[in-house]
């Protein structure tokens, strides 16, 4: 385990050593920014200066919007959408119902314990639970594909309950993402 961590650290080290400009780390999604309040003074009439374009925040990327949250977490050995995850899943379902041109891939995951193929099936079971919950609030079947990563793409690589819990997850990934 330690070795894996060291190896990835080494790779990251090499990457930053090669890069001419250091890449900014991705902002943590955990701290939702305050909602953007438009409080501009009334624009003077006949002003010819260029107006700044008001950014239309994509609700899927707006940290203040529940739709920006994409991970649906599950309990150990459980494959039904947990009560505390239901609002998140429902929001995505309603968004899909309102935006029929959008579609999603649901990627189920499992922790690393046991058979890889069986874990693929367990990840699928989680993605499938989310698929059904999205459908229940109006998302169409043609908008959703439920697939599994099994234990092949762990977000957390530790051998502890916190890592296992992080990997008991299904991700909502919109087309084009």
């Amino acid at each position: 385990m330690m070795k894996k961590t060291l190896a990835s650290l080494t790779v990251l080290g090499l990457l930053s050593a090669c890069a001419s400009t250091p890449s900014a780390p991705t902002a943590p999604a955990a701290e939702p920014a305050a909602p953007v309040v438009e409080s501009k003074p009334a624009a003077p009439v006949a002003d010819t200066t260029i107006q700044p374009v008001k950014p239309q925040l994509d609700p899927l990327k707006d940290p203040a919007n529940v739709l920006s949250k994409r991970g649906v977490y599950f309990d150990f050995d459980k494959y039904d959408v947990r009560a505390d995850q239901a609002a998140l899943v429902e929001a995505h379902g309603r968004y899909l119902a309102a935006n029929p041109s959008r579609s999603v891939r649901l990627e189920g995951n499992a922790d690393e314990r046991g058979s890889r193929e069986y874990n693929l099936a367990l990840g699928q079971k989680r993605a499938e639970a989310v698929r059904q919950a999205l459908g229940a609030v109006g998302a169409k079947e043609s908008q959703i594909e439920a697939v599994s990563n099994g234990e092949e793409k762990p977000r957390a690589t530790g051998r502890d309950e916190a890592s296992y819990a992080e990997n008991r997850r299904a991700d909502v990934i919109y087309n084009g993402e």
């Binding site: 090499l14 990457l15 890889r116 193929e117 693929l120 599994s148 990563n149 092949e152 793409k153």
Partner: protein, 434 residues
Amino acid sequence: MMRTLLSRTLCLLALLLPALAQADVTIEITGAGARQFPIAIAGLNGEPALKEALTPIIRANLARSGRFKLVETGGAVPAENPLAELPAWKGRGADSLAVGSVRVDAAGTAYIRLRVFDTLSQQHLGGFEIVAKPNQLRRAAHQLADQIYELMTGDKGVFSTRIAYVQKQGKRYSLQIADADGHNPQAVLSSNEPIMSPSWSPDGSRMAYVSFERKKPIVYVLDLYAGSAKAVANFKGSNSAPAWSPDGRTLAVTLTLDGISQLYLIPSDGGQARRLQRSAGIDTEASFSPDGRYVVFTSDRGGSPQLYRAPAAGGEAERLSFEGSYNVSPHYSADGKMLTFVRRENGAFRVATLDLLSRQSLTLSEGGYDESPSFAPNGKLILYATEVGGRGTLAMVSSDGLVKQRLSAEGDVREPAWGPYTGQLPLTRLSFNP
């Protein structure tokens, strides 16, 4: 953007490290058989003319099997007719003696002869000749070791067979094929996305596997001669767990066409899926019986993952495993009498066998994360994935549990699959006329 940059950079890194990817697997023996045959493997007359000596390969194979005690030869190379010397070899503790010769022609082709004698009865037990090109010497040595093994033990040897496994180095995955002793690893496929579940076609010419290169699990078949891969199961949802029918025409696969993972049959070159089982739970990890009549698989239809068997023509499944709450990944032995599978015992995942007639099961491995067992084609050894120091590696255990070997390679190695008898050099049996 960042992701693309990252993966491109990793590609470059992977390109810069080809030496690591080529590293051989090394083997460590961690047990021995109950009864060992004392044998002297003398060198071959004319062997120094070869660019690679064969005797050390033959000796290493036999020693590694745990079923032989190699008697020191002191570098002696007896004549190909050593009858007069046999009592002396008996005196050294060898019950049998292997001797031979090599002749290399102008084109570099080697004519290799090997004979085995019983030192007590002074009988000629067998003689063999193999003709090998310079790049076939190692294979020739493995086949000769197979012959010695079979003469002494009565079981077919598997030194000349090959194994497949998935190697992960950094972010790079490759499907490797190596000799059964871990030498000569060749990457037949590599990808930045996970590869899993390699499965040999019965004739050894093709390999089915699961790849995530198109962002979800899809089953491919790789033609090992042409080097080309084709997606054969790419249905909506996940596609995984390919298993060949014995005639090579059909694959059992796990699909998720109406939600949960279920078993289907597809033509091995792709086509329509036919449902094999229908259950309310997970059905996956199919393996055909060698006669093609049955499929064993993992299912949690009874509440926990257990082994089941159903007719390959469709029909009701019978539960095979009853001990413990986690029994998965069944694979048949070549004679169809045994299964090897993974069971969880006190939180540890271990390789076990199940005798289909007596229904007795036996735990063979001692690791905590042992996975993906498959039988050698002689049914005497099981290859599986284990972990040493947090890193995935390969191990072998004899089906009686007595002989254990560990193979270690660079990177993280997993998902091994033992290949069939294939690609053998022609072998001539020699008579003995002293």
